[in-house]
Amino acid sequence: MSHHIVEVKGLKHVYADSTVALDDLSFTIHHGESVAIIGANGAGKSTLLLHLNGYLAPTVGEVRIGGFPLTQATLPEIRRTVGMVFQDPDDQLFMPTVYEDVAFGPCNLGLPEEEVRQRVNEALGKVGARHLAQKPPYHLSGGEKKRVAIATVLSMSPDILVMDEPTNGLDPFSRRQLIRLLKDFQHTRIFTSHDLDMVIELCERTIVLHQGEVKADGPTVEIFNNEQLLAECRLEKPLSMQGCPICGASSKRL
């Protein structure tokens, strides 16, 4: 299905204060791919994500989702297609209860009540949060909030999942739980993250951004073995690929 393709061509974005955040970015992400977008702070990752669902408009260039260009007319369909999970779940959970929050998207799609209920149940089931349905968001823990935030997007049955720093601020157990959950998804997945160990586990392809440009784009393992490239982009090998800090034994080479 062509629905799941993300094409970015010659994308440039200049903010109102004339900061060039993105400069001549081009890449294509295919159906079912799991791609990480990594880079130092201020490399342009968040700005790029906001272009993928039309929240920001390109200054120059074009973004196409599923073969359609992003225009005012295609916007509602594209926003349904691209499910976006924000870095801070508190920004995403704004309704009084978890149930109502997960139902927010389907209700806006104008679905009948029975279908809304079914979708909410399914989405909460997928992230293992059905027991939280009647709770208000401020009574949830960080890990629970994150999973519920993912459910709010899943209930719109998106084809493409975009997540900004999914493992940020989670304890090791919640992080592991989330990685396992994301591994099982069949969607086209795009992540930004500083958690490079998560990137190795989840993404076969990695795009490295540096000062608003694509510095590298290729298989994750290849990129993480290129130490010179990583150093230039203010990055570091993931811990799981570095030697043991205590005995010095080298890790398994991927």
Partner: protein, 270 residues
């Protein structure tokens, strides 16, 4: 002064009480809202020297409190926190209004003292009933009930957002003030001059958050219309509750129940 953290925890506790289960909890929120409003109007409608007439109105909060299994000491404490405010409102009444109204043996009581006590009594009754309403219904259900009773949708949404983000924002404010206090080392820090930038930062952060929330709403198809689930179950119990209490309030307001009871009581012994 209480810390911001403490206040938030307290709000959360009030919210958790509403998840309890009792006859009062199970009633439709609209019934409770209408009855409480009617109660407040009745209590406020008395003249300023009313004191004895107000006493039977204690029945309403006492009975609902007893039926709803709420922790009584917690509710009393909540009521006690607002009484100083009521005291300030009536503080000067005894000074200005020195006309003697009641003589109890050797003690003559002026109208000012009576109206001061009346103000405090009325505050305790009205605020108490409002706290019991929130503790048995929950703020969110009260908002939805007000909406279905005809409050404009815009206000409901504003209130719901306010309630959702009051926790996030107060936590943010608490973190910032804590950071300031720790670096002030128990002294005044830079005093009031450091509060300007602090509040400015909070405002900007709130602004940025509002934008992110709006973004989260827009990407999930928000187009200005809020859809919420409508649960209608205004049944027999609700009608009984509203009509029953309203009748009681009207009788208390129009008949001198205290006088009749008093006369019956003294008649018993004479």
């Amino acid at each position: 002064m209480r810390s911001i953290d403490g206040t938030v925890l307290d709000l959360k506790r009030l919210d958790l009480l509403a998840t309890g289960d009792s006859i009062i909890h199970r009633l439709d929120a609209r019934a409770k809202v209408v009855t409480t409003l009617f109660f407040i109007i009745m209590v406020v409608s008395y003249n300023r020297y009313a004191l004895a007439e107000l006493t039977p109105f204690l029945f309403f909060p006492v009975i609902t409190l007893a039926l709803s299994n709420l922790p009584i000491s917690y509710i009393l404490k909540k009521i006690a926190t607002i009484l100083p405010l009521a005291l300030f409102v009536g503080l000067f009444n005894p000074l200005f209004d020195r006309e003697i109204q009641v003589i109890l043996g050797p003690v003559a009581i002026s109208g000012g003292w009576i109206s001061l006590v009346s103000i405090m009594g009325r505050s305790a009754l009205t605020v108490g009933s409002a706290i019991i309403l929130i503790a048995t219904t929950g703020f969110i259900s009260v908002c939805h009930a007000l909406n279905r009773l005809g409050m404009p949708r815009v206000f409901t949404i504003q209130l719901l957002f306010l309630y959702r983000y009051i926790f996030v924002l107060t936590e943010e404010a608490a973190r910032t003030t804590r950071a300031r206090e720790l670096r002030a080392c128990g002294k005044k820090g830079l005093g009031f001059s450091s509060f300007g930038p602090l509040i400015g930062h909070l405002l900007i952060r709130t602004w940025a958050r509002a934008e992110r929330i709006h973004m989260a709403m827009v990407v999930r198809g928000f187009s200005g219309e809020f859809h919420s689930r409508q649960i209608n179950r205004f049944g027999c119990n609700e009608y009984l509750y509203v009509i029953g209490w309203s009748l009681v309030f009207i009788i208390l307001r129009t008949e001198d129940v205290t006088g009749i009871l008093g006369a019956a009581f003294t008649g018993l012994f004479s």
